[in-house]
Amino acid sequence: DESGGNDEVAGDNTEQEEENDAEETDSDSGEEESNDQSGEKLVIGFSQVGAESEWRTANTKSIQDAIKDAGHELKFSDAQQKQENQIKAIRSFITQKVDAIVFSPVVETGFETVLQEAKDADIPVFLADRSVDVEDDSLWVTFLGSDFVEEGRKAGNWLLEEMADEEGPVNIVELQGTVGSAPAIDRKEGFEEIIGQEDKFEITKSQTGDFTRAKGKEVMEAFLKSDGENIDVLYSHNDDMAIGAIQAIEEYGLKPSEDIKIIGVDAVKGAFEAMADGKMNVTIECNPLFGPQLVDLIEQHFAGEELDKRIAVEESMYTMDQAEELLPTREY
């Protein structure tokens, strides 16, 4: 990005869009290039859910950095988990006449009005991480994010394979995320969908651990006290709760990953550490580092390209044996 000097020259002129469009008909892979050529500096408003977990923090940082690195101006707003704040922020972005709005909705519903206002003001909206539940999909350009249901399915599938030889019954305890939150609902749904295929699986206990380590540990303790030896599998809606639960299991005197199989979601660094120590079996990746991908998409849009309404983030699944080697590469 050495020649980025002309970024500043063009200013925030969005009308140049058309021209750019004409200029760069050939490139679809070289967004950075196009950025250079057009010299277009966008003002991007980004409304984040909050800072409720380290996953979120990593996600925020990735998006912020990507926007800044690409030479755009960032207007950041943290909604602190409150939808009303988020709506206020978007509305304020509109009054501030930003060029594009990126946001990770706190909830799926309820953004019609403000999205319509954005549309009326000709400001394109990009959804990150979570989608919105709105009929009129012309209100946003594209949604880039993980598919929580798919994550749940992946977890289920792993378990199905892992337990293929077991007689059953397989007793599963589940640590849910915050009651009512989209990941909690979807990860539960996807997981149940898969394990429901075989009768030997049974979820014996399911309780919320609010996505936190401390709660995860506390709830797991209670599970162990009441059901102790019968628990075969722990499915935790995020790694943090799983890590808390692992401590509880150890303190209870069982061996995590052997006596109780442990499935987490997110693939945070802590999970890799736990897996490297042989205390956790698998974590389903939910990748927060899609900032650069997002910025590409925004630039593509301004370059006049049609984008799919739904673009998935690249994600995979990591098991115990991969952990050791991948651990040093994990950023968050």
Partner: protein, 328 residues
Amino acid sequence: MINRLSLDYKQLPLLATISLFVLMFSFGSLRYTGFFSTQVFLNLFIDNAFLIVIAVGMTFVILSGGIDLSVGSLIALTSMVAASLTMEAQLSPWIVVPISLLVGTVFGVVQGALIHLYNLQPFIVTLAGMFLARGLSYVISVETIAIDHPFFSYMASIQIPLPGDNFISISVVIALIVVVIAIFIGHFTNFGRTVYAIGGSEQSAMLMGLPVGRTKILIYTLSGFCASLAGLIFTFYMLSGYGLHANGMELDTIAAVVIGGTLLTGGAGYVAGSVVGVLILGIIQTIIVFEGTLSSWWTKIAIGVLLFLFIILHRVIVLRSEKKQASN
């Protein structure tokens, strides 16, 4: 002359709050382009209409020396009831709206009755109410229910144009009507004055032969009703019902009321003050959004700092002028 002075004296905190609001608005206008506009000011109302409505109800509760922690959850419950009745039971808004309004009202009556009849502390009763209301909304559904009904969409999208290309939403109109009615109730009805009396001294109010019990129950009913109305406004705003809606909003409300000059110990304050209190919270947020460079944590710290500055300035103004008043 004496008359005017004494009025000023009583309303001093309110005046200080208003001037600080103006100060903050000017600060924002000077610092950020696009801040100084009527629409930014109007947005404060549009975005906080529901908060204004619950703050009004809360003002009465706090004036009487009580507290109502259930309001935030009641918003969630109301939105949930409205959403599920509209979307799942397919009822017409003519039925849904009254039922939704009844939800909070009934909650309020029961809470008020428990507080009065069994002499329980309002904090606990309404805390239980808070748990219960949120719990019940999860029982209805843990997922959000999007509302897709012409009436709600209409209420959500209708913009009432004002001169100069500005607009307000229907919620603002509702909120302002509520405020006007509340000011009337507070100052020109005996119910309102009884609320102040109870806040001053419940025992004295009782000995003076005021209907303390009935008034207390009514206060919580009013607050519950306001919460439901705010819940409806919130539902218009969000077009969805959701158990996690308005999480923690009771604290925002209490903060707004107290910032607006109402004493938490009861007996002194104004409904109008609470409205300004809401606006203060709103403008703090607007400033932060306009700043646009604060990370998540700096956002929180900045809110804290702005709140602190506001409080300090407020105290200084009030204390100084009280002194002046005394020496006059």
